[in-house]
């Protein structure tokens, strides 16, 4: 039974798409929140980050599209690569990075605009305003987010008039509008009721055909249900990373075992 992440990771039998490597460390000011991370994420699969609050899973997720840059006084060591390109490459525009990586947030946050405008936002800011293109993207994204049939007749109504689950799926549709390579999901269902949660999970399952998905969740059952691979974090350290079945049915680490079986703390 191995304690070090390297060994657990060594089981990787795939071509990594996102790599967190070189002992990635991360600090908020003087507080270190991530310790010596090394993690390979496969393409077009769902990878779940689980762990108790404050374990660093969200921080790691937000590191992938450098959303943490918004916070003052952060710094890191190590590297993260996407398709072998470092996200910290100085020649890389962070905006461009974020265009490659869609993100869905804990609280659904549609813009106070119409459904249509929400989806085409990423195109409009890139200066793509051709009506036919936008229409196509809206339909594709809404279909992709399994929302098309529900809202196709009210595309120009305010997004805020939708139900919570619809809003979150709209956010997903917005995230895939630009056809990103990766979708990051930060507890996407924590503000939703079970039915909406089910729909979103279903959607995740659909989306993984086209996108590499990384999801942070508090809900272990959710991780078990939706993910192909699961990483368990504790106190800023990666404790175990394996295919989801192994993590939940025969974890090799006692802490993982304790956590997934609810005997934690």
């Amino acid at each position: 039974m191995s304690q070090t992440p390297e060994t657990t990771n060594a089981r990787a039998d795939f071509e990594p798409f996102i790599q967190i490597k070189d002992n990635y460390n991360f600090w908020y000011g003087s507080t270190q929140v991530l310790f010596d991370m090394n993690l390979d994420i496969p393409e077009k699969q769902v990878t779940a980050f689980i762990g108790p609050s404050g374990c660093g899973k969200s921080t790691l997720l937000r590191s992938i599209n450098r959303m943490n840059d918004l916070i003052e006084g952060i710094h890191h060591t190590g590297d993260i690569t996407i398709a072998d390109q470092s996200i910290y490459d100085p020649s890389l525009e962070v905006i461009s990075l974020r265009k490659r990586i869609g993100m869905v947030f804990q609280k659904y946050n549609p813009f106070p605009k119409s459904i249509y405008e929400n989806i085409v936002f990423s195109l409009r800011i890139a200066g793509r305003n051709k009506k036919s293109e936008l229409d196509e993207v809206v339909e594709r994204s809404l279909r992709g987010a399994a929302l098309w049939d529900e809202v196709k007749d009210r595309l120009h109504e305010s997004a805020l008039s939708m139900s919570g689950g619809q809003m979150q799926r709209l956010c997903i549709a917005r995230a895939i509008a630009n056809n990103p390579e990766v979708i990051l999901m930060d507890e996407p269902c924590s503000a939703l009721d079970p039915i909406a949660t089910g729909k979103v999970e279903e959607l995740i399952h659909e989306l993984k055909k086209d996108y590499t998905i990384v999801i942070v969740t508090h809900n272990m059952q959710q991780a078990a249900r939706v993910s192909d691979r699961t990483a368990f974090f504790y106190l800023g350290k990666l404790i175990e990373y394996d295919v989801t079945d192994n993590i939940f049915m025969k974890p090799s680490n006692e802490q993982t075992e304790a956590y997934v079986s609810g005997r934690f703390g």
């Binding site: 869609g102 947030f105 890139a126 805020l160």
Partner: protein
């Protein structure tokens, strides 16, 4: 006590009296507002209502009326209690203030008469009979005239005395006279004004040339001669126009109306002096309402006369408008930019917190302090420098080195910038963090996120702040007194003359107009209705601005309330 153990109802809640006592605070507050607004509303509107003119008969030997006479006609302006002069009868009596007009004849328009000086009717009440057929004339000089029309004498020699024809001729002549006035004003103000400004620029050119070439050389230079020719041509044009205007003037002057005053004497009034006439006691209610509305319109659209005690307040409205507009133009971008900086760009820490508190507090710094700064910095330092750099040919007459609408606007902008910053910051912070993150995650740049998501979402809040700033700016007087407001501005800050916007001009302002009318007016009784009317207008303006701000804010609260951001 034993009883109360059995019954719930007999337990009296403690402190109910004190609850009622606190209710008194609210009641007094409400009464104060209603009372104050009511007084302004009543007094402000009554100026426009055609009052009934009464014939007043004074008791034998009384000298309280105009010209010490015993009868006169006037409207009751005020009835109030007065400390009784006789010691035997402790208490108060009534005193009437009459508006008798005819300042040219009586010396003053308002007269105070004690109730016991007036002839009473059978019940002991003072006897007032409406003066039938009395005419009220609004005049350019000497205020209103009250009297019975006797005859109209026109310039062509015709005289009209028959009452009905007289009435018709009266209104017709006034109309014609006003048309003539309009024509020659146009000639004098516009055409002659244009010639004058051309001549002035020629004169300046001449001066510049003389300085450049030297006095002697200049006289023979072709440029000067050409200028001289132009000058002569303009002079000729001027003479022609002036003659035309004079003729119209003359005609207006010659038409006249003979009026018999209630005190008995007769007076001839030239039509050039009459702006409007009405028969107050003959008017029907719809007629009175119509007159009332017309008077309100005239009040708002005309320029003041007679040391601001007559006429309208259009220049003050316009000045307030232009000043507030300029102020908004200045305050809006800067306030919003500063707020965006504080909220979106600055590193949130102790310093920004301190800056925020300071900005908040600046909103509470007395307005006069901003006025002091405006005078010291804008007018003297900035304006003085501008004058030296660009207008040195006009010195020592200051152009920007004295108060003007630009400096006033900037001063008020500075004063209200904290209001806008605070409101904008509040509006920005009300936009959920998730919105910004979502925009950024969509690949928007920081500015795109602000421009496309944050600013539109906070626009109503920013607008609220701006409206509040405008309301404060429109109602503020103290700093303006230092930086360019005047009681009577010769010309508007915006007009048809190049360069159309005259930022250096002094301007009139509703608030200062009130101050000026109330305190600097030579005839305070005559000014009082004007002050109240102006006050009413200012208050309506400020309240409308505030109400719209409150409405927008409530709307905003409703929008953000209940949703789950």
């Amino acid at each position: 006590m034993p009883k109360s153990q059995h019954s719930f109802t007999s337990i009296r809640p403690k402190g109910e009296a004190l609850v009622w006592f606190t209710g008194m605070g609210l009641s007094v507050g409400i009464l104060l507002i209603i009372g104050l607004l009511g007084i302004i509303l009543k007094n402000g509107l009554s100026m426009f209502w055609p009052d009934t003119i009464y014939e007043v008969q004074l008791v034998e030997g009384s000298t309280a009326g105009p010209r010490n006479g015993q009868n006169f006609a006037g409207a009751i302006a005020l009835e109030r209690h007065k400390r009784l002069q006789e010691a035997t009868n402790a208490g108060l009596t009534s005193e009437f203030q009459f508006f008798a007009g005819n300042k040219d004849a009586y010396g003053q328009m308002y007269h105070y008469v004690d109730a016991d000086q007036i002839v009473t009717d059978a019940t002991g009440e003072p006897l007032f009979t409406p003066a039938s057929g009395i005419l009220q004339l609004e005049r350019i000089e000497f205020g209103d005239a009250l009297g019975f029309p006797l005859e109209i004498q026109l310039a062509d020699g015709t005289t009209i005395t028959e009452p009905e024809a007289l009435k018709a001729a009266l209104f017709k002549t006034i109309e014609e006279s006003n048309e003539r006035l309009e024509t020659y004003t146009k000639i004098e103000k516009k055409q002659i004004g244009r010639i004058n400004s051309k001549m002035e620029s020629i004169r300046l050119e001449q001066r510049a040339l003389r300085e450049e070439l030297g006095e002697a050389a200049a006289e023979t230079s072709p440029q000067i001669q050409e200028l001289n020719e132009q000058q002569a041509a303009l002079q000729a044009q001027y003479t022609e126009l002036a003659a035309e205007a004079r003729e119209l003037r003359e005609r207006r002057h010659q038409d006249s109306l003979l009026l018999r005053l209630a005190t008995g004497e007769e007076r001839r009034i030239s039509f050039e002096n009459i702006t409007q006439a009405h028969f107050p006691n003959e008017m029907s209610l719809p007629g009175k309402v119509g007159f009332f509305l017309k008077q309100i319109w005239r009040f708002m659209s005309e320029a003041p006369r007679e040391a601001n005690t007559e006429g309208g307040i259009f220049p003050a409205i316009f000045g307030t408008f232009v000043m507030t507009l300029l102020m908004s133009l200045a305050v809006m971008p800067f306030g919003v930019v500063a707020a965006i900086y504080l909220r979106e760009y600055a590193t949130q820490g102790v310093i920004v917190r301190a800056v925020r508190i300071s900005v908040n507090n600046l909103a509470g710094v007395p307005s006069i302090v901003y006025g002091v700064f405006g005078l010291g910095f804008f007018v003297y330092v900035l304006g003085g420098s501008i004058d030296e750099l660009f207008f040195s040919h006009k010195l020592p007459t200051a152009t920007f080195g004295t108060g003007g609408v630009l400096w006033a606007s900037l001063t008020l902008a500075l004063m209200t910038v904290p209001v806008v910053i605070v409101a904008t910051e509040e509006a920005l912070s009300a936009v959920p963090r998730g919105m910004r993150e979502a925009a950024l995650a969509c690949g928007a740049s920081k500015w795109q996120a602000i421009q496309r998501i944050v600013l539109p979402a906070s626009a109503p809040g920013i607008l609220t702040g701006l409206i509040l700033a405008m309301a404060r700016g429109a109602g503020e007087v103290a700093p303006l007194m230092l930086v360019g407001v005047v009681k009577l501005a010769p010309s508007l800050p915006l007009d048809g003359e190049f360069p159309f916007v005259h930022l250096d001009r002094k301007f009139m302002h509703l608030g200062f107009h009130i101050y000026d009318l109330a305190f600097q007016s030579p005839d305070s009784d005559a000014a009082k209705p004007m002050v109240f009317a102006t006050t009413l207008l200012l208050i309506v303006l400020v309240i409308v601005l505030n109400l719209s701000a409150i409405t927008i804010r409530n709307h905003l609260r409703k929008k953000y309330k209940g949703d789950t951001f």
